[in-house]
C-alpha cells in the first residue's frame, strides 16, 4: 500500500526544515541552561538529594548561579574542584550542598585541566553503554506495530502491578505517565514516590523499580518489554541522563510540546532539547515527539499539515544532535472527527503520508482521544478503526486507545481490553496492507499530496520568518508563545568564550565515529 507522493515537494520540505533547525541551532549554540549544567553533573555521577529533598545537582548549580558565573559551565568548576580537593564530584557536591565548600573562587580562574573529570564521565558512559548493549541483546525486530500502553496510577508500586498485567496481556511497551505538575518543576524529585495526579513522578528510583520489574517479566515472557518516560519539561536533559542510566528505551522528547502546551520558554527548552537528544542518540534511546497534540487541540482535518511540517523540523533537530532515523519516533494521531464523512480515508492519507515521508523512522501513532466521549462502547469502535489504520499504514509505536479515554486514566481492565482489540486486529488483518492498492489519483492519494503541499508551504513561511516568530504567531495548535515569555528563561545563560560541555563533546565524537552503524 504505497501512495504516489510528490518527491520534489518532499525534498523541498526537508530542505526548509533543515534551514529552520540550523538557524535555531546557531542561536542556541551560544547558550547553556541550568538544566544542561545539572545534566552534566549527573553524568559526573552526582545523584541523590539533601535531607531537605534538594537534589545535589540543583544545590551545586544554584550555588554557582548565586555565587559564581554559570556561563563558564559546571565542567569548569568541577574540574577545578576535583583538581584542588582530589575528591569525587559527588563528594564535592555534598560538601557544597551542606555549605562546607564554595565554588566562588573558581569563577574567575583560568581554563582548568578538564581531563581530571574524564574518569567520572567514563564511569557513567560505561553504565550507559552497558545498558545499551543489554537492550540490543534482547531486542529483535518487530514487523508489526509495537503495542504501547500507559500506566498512570500516581503510585509506582501500583504502576508496576498494572504494567505486569499489561505485559501478560501482550503489551510491548510500557509508558509511565508523569504527574500533572512535574514538567514545570525545575528539579527532578529524588527517590521512590507513591502519590501523583494523573501520573507518577519521574525519578531515578521509580525508573529503576519499573525497569527491574519489566526485566523480570522479560525473562518470563521471552520478549523484551520497553520502558518509556518523559525527557521533557524544565528538566529535559537531566531526565534523559536518568533514562540512559536506568535503561529506558524511549523518551517523550519534544520542545515544541513544552512550549505550546506547558508554556515553557522556547529558548530554554530548545537548548535543553539539543543536549537531551545528543544524550539520547548516544544511549540508543528512541525519542517520541508530540505532533499528535496539535490535533487534540485544533481541528485534525484542517491542521494535518502542521503535523507533517513539525515532523520535518523534529527530524532535523534530531539529526543535528547526531541521532539516526531509527531513533526518531515522530508523532502523529488519529484525531479526525468521526462525524466527518470519509474520516477513515483522510486518516489513511495522513498516516501513510507520515510513513512515506519518514520511511526509516519508528513512527509513534496516537489513538483517538479528542472525540472520545463517555460512550465507552463507541470508544471501542473508534479504537478499532485506529488499530486498523495502524496496521494498514505500518506504524511502529502503536499507542493503544482506551475505551475510557474521556473518563479516567486507564483501569487495569481498560488496558487489557485495548490489548485484546489490538491483537484481534493484528490477527485478522496482518497481511491486508500487502493485498490492497490505493486508487491512483483517488481521494486518499489526493488528500496526502494536498497535506504535503500545505506542509511545504508552511515550512517555507517558517523558514522565512524563523521558528521563534512562527511560534509567536501560533503556528502550531493555534497557541501563541513569545520568545521571552513562558517558564524557565531565568535558567538560560550565555556561554563564556571558554565554556565547555565536555560530555556533549564526547558524545558527539562517539556518534560521529559510530555514524556508519545507523
Amino acid at each position: 500500500m504505497q501512495l504516489a507522493i510528490d518527491k520534489t515537494i518532499m525534498q523541498d520540505a526537508r530542505e526548509d526544515a533543515k534551514a529552520i533547525a540550523k538557524a535555531i541551532k546557531a542561536f542556541i549554540d551560544e547558550k547553556t541552561t541550568t538544566s544542561v549544567e545539572r545534566s552534566i553533573l549527573r553524568l559526573l555521577g552526582i545523584d541523590q538529594a539533601t535531607d531537605f529533598g534538594v537534589p545535589l545537582v540543583n544545590a551545586v548549580v544554584d550555588h554557582i548561579v548565586e555565587h559564581g558565573d554559570l556561563s563558564r559551565g559546571v565542567c569548569h568548576y568541577m574540574a577545578h574542584a576535583v583538581k584542588k580537593t582530589d575528591k569525587s564530584p559527588k563528594a564535592i557536591a555534598t560538601l557544597i550542598a551542606s555549605g562546607k565548600m564554595h565554588m566562588k573562587d573558581f569563577a574567575k580562574k583560568a581554563v582548568p585541566d578538564y581531563s581530571v573529570l574524564t574518569p567520572y564521565f567514563l564511569a557513567t558512559e560505561k553504565i550507559i553503554q552497558h545498558q545499551a548493549k543489554k537492550r540490543r541483546e534482547h531486542l529483535h525486530e518487530y514487523d508489526v506495530p509495537e503495542k504501547y500502553v500507559i500506566v498512570a496510577t500516581g503510585n509506582i508500586y501500583e504502576d508496576i502491578k498494572q504494567a505486569l498485567s499489561a505485559v501478560e496481556k501482550g503489551a510491548d511497551i510500557i509508558a509511565v505517565i508523569r504527574t500533572t505538575g512535574q514538567s514545570l518543576l525545575d528539579y527532578v524529585p529524588d527517590g521512590v514516590t507513591q502519590e501523583g495526579f494523573g501520573g507518577t513522578y519521574a525519578t531515578q528510583e521509580n525508573f529503576r523499580l519499573m525497569r527491574e520489574a519489566l526485566d523480570e517479566s522479560t525473562k518470563t515472557h521471552g520478549r523484551y518489554i520497553k520502558l518509556v518516560n518523559y525527557a521533557s519539561g524544565l528538566c529535559m536533559p537531566e531526565i534523559a541522563v536518568l533514562g540512559a542510566i536506568e535503561r529506558l528505551d524511549m523518551m517523550l522528547n519534544d520542545s515544541l510540546y513544552g512550549i505550546i502546551f506547558r508554556d515553557i520558554n522556547m529558548q530554554r527548552t530548545f537548548i535543553d532539547q539539543h543536549f537531551s537528544r545528543v544524550i539520547g542518540a548516544y544511549s540508543d534511546i528512541v525519542i517520541n515527539t508530540g505532533e499528535d497534540n496539535y490535533l487534540t487541540t485544533t481541528d485534525a482535518f484542517d491542521n494535518a499539515h502542521t503535523v507533517i511540517a513539525s515532523q520535518f523540523i523534529n527530524e532535523q533537530f534530531a539529526s543535528l544532535a547526531g541521532m539516526p532515523s531509527r531513533l526518531m519516533g515522530l508523532g502523529h494521531a488519529y484525531e479526525i472527527d468521526p462525524a466527518k464523512p470519509h474520516s477513515f480515508l483522510y486518516e489513511i492519507a495522513n498516516a501513510q503520508l507520515s510513513r512515506q515521508c519518514f520511511p526509516n523512522a519508528p513512527l509513534k501513532y496516537m489513538p483517538p482521544t479528542k472525540h472520545m466521549h463517555g460512550d465507552i462502547f463507541n470508544g471501542i469502535a473508534q479504537n478499532t478503526l485506529f488499530n486498523i489504520a495502524a496496521q494498514l499504514t505500518g506504524q511502529n509505536i502503536h499507542l493503544l486507545g482506551m475505551l475510557t479515554e474521556a473518563i479516567h486514566t486507564p483501569f487495569v481492565s481498560d488496558r487489557a481490553l485495548a490489548l485484546n482489540n489490538a491483537k484481534h486486529i493484528e490477527t485478522a488483518m496482518l497481511a491486508l496492507k500487502d493485498e490492497l492498492t490505493i486508487k491512483p489519483g483517488g481521494m486518499i492519494e489526493k488528500r496526502a499530496n494536498d497535506v504535503l503541499k500545505d506542509a511545504k508551504k508552511l515550512l517555507e513561511s517558517i523558514r522565512e520568518m524563523g521558528l521563534f516568530k512562527a511560534l509567536e504567531k501560533g503556528t502550531f495548535a493555534d497557541i501563541a508563545r513569545t520568545q521571552d515569555g513562558g517558564k524557565g528563561l531565568e535558567g538560560v545563560f550565555d556561554k563564556h568564550p571558554h565554556y565547555r560541555n565536555i560530555p556533549m563533546e564526547r558524545f558527539m565524537q562517539a556518534l560521529k565515529a559510530g555514524e556508519s552503524n545507523e
Partner: protein, 248 residues
C-alpha cells in the same frame, strides 16, 4: 408530588436489567466468578449472570455481569440540581446586557492549578467557540479575558481584581485523585480569606463538573459537557442583575 417509580429497562418494562463490569484483585477461577456474583448481589441485583471472566495477569481478573434490580427509585423525590436560569441565545444575552447594564461586563477565566487543558475554557471564551456556538469574546457587552492554563489561584484573583472582573470562570479538567476538589476549595477559601467572595460571580466548568458539585464547593454555578457560552452567559448576566438589584 406523586410517586414516579423507575427501574432499569432491558426489553420489558420493569425488568430491571443492568450491565456491570469490574475487575477484582484475585485470580480468575470459580472463586473469582463467585466473588463477582456476590459483588453484584451486594449491589441489590438478583438473577445475576457472570457472562464473562478473564485473567488480567497474575492476581487480577475481569468480569462482565448482568443482573436485575428489583427496587425502583422514585424520581419525584430526586433533587435535580441543574442551573435554574432559562438559557438565552447570544442575541438575547446581548439585549439583556444592553438593557440592564450601563457598562460592559468583565468575564475573566483560566484553567487553574497545574491543569494544562485549555480546550474547554477556550470553547467558552474564545471567539470561535465550539460546535457552532460562539464564545464570550464575540458577545457585545462582554469583555472576555482568557488567562490560559496552569494559572494559580492567587494569580487568577489578582488579575480579576486588576481587571475589575464581574465574573470569574474556572476550568478544571484533571480530576484524578480529586485534585480538582482541592484546587477549587482552595480558590473559594482564598476569596473568603481576602473578603472578596461577594465581589464576583464565580463559575466552574469542566468535563467532570456538575452544577451540584459546584454548589457544594461554594461556587455560584457549575457547567459540564454539552454546555456552551450562551449557557454560562445567561446564568451570569441574570446572577449579576439579581445581585445589582439586591444591592440597590
Amino acid at each position: 408530588m406523586n410517586k414516579k417509580l423507575l427501574l432499569p429497562y432491558g426489553d420489558t418494562l420493569d425488568d430491571g436489567k443492568v450491565q456491570l463490569s469490574f475487575s477484582l484483585p484475585c485470580p480468575c477461577n470459580p472463586t473469582g466468578d463467585a466473588a463477582a456474583k456476590a459483588t453484584a448481589e451486594a449491589m441489590g441485583l438478583y438473577d445475576v449472570h457472570v457472562v464473562h471472566s478473564s485473567a488480567l495477569g497474575e492476581g487480577f481478573s475481569f468480569y462482565v455481569v448482568y443482573g436485575m434490580r428489583k427496587d425502583p427509585i422514585d424520581i419525584s423525590t430526586l433533587e435535580v440540581r441543574d442551573v435554574e436560569t432559562q438559557a438565552m441565545s447570544k442575541d438575547e444575552v446581548e439585549a439583556f446586557i444592553a438593557e440592564k447594564f450601563d457598562r460592559p461586563l468583565v468575564f475573566i477565566g483560566a484553567s487553574t492549578g497545574s491543569d494544562a487543558h485549555t480546550v474547554g475554557i477556550d470553547a467558552i471564551m474564545n471567539m470561535k467557540g465550539i460546535h457552532g456556538h460562539y464564545g464570550l469574546e464575540r458577545y457585545k457587552g462582554i469583555q472576555a479575558i482568557n488567562l490560559g492554563s496552569q494559572v494559580d489561584n492567587e494569580t487568577l484573583l489578582e488579575k480579576a481584581k486588576e481587571h475589575r472582573a464581574d465574573v470569574i470562570l474556572v476550568s478544571q479538567t484533571v480530576t484524578q485523585k480529586d485534585i480538582h476538589i482541592r484546587n477549587l476549595t482552595a480558590f473559594v477559601e482564598l476569596l473568603e480569606a481576602e473578603g472578596e467572595r461577594d465581589n464576583f460571580i464565580i463559575v466552574v466548568g469542566g468535563a467532570r463538573i456538575s452544577h451540584a458539585l459546584a454548589k457544594e464547593l461554594g461556587f455560584d454555578a457549575g457547567f459540564g459537557p454539552k454546555k456552551y457560552a450562551f449557557d454560562v452567559a445567561s446564568f451570569a448576566v441574570n446572577a449579576l442583575f439579581d445581585k445589582m438589584r439586591h444591592q440597590e
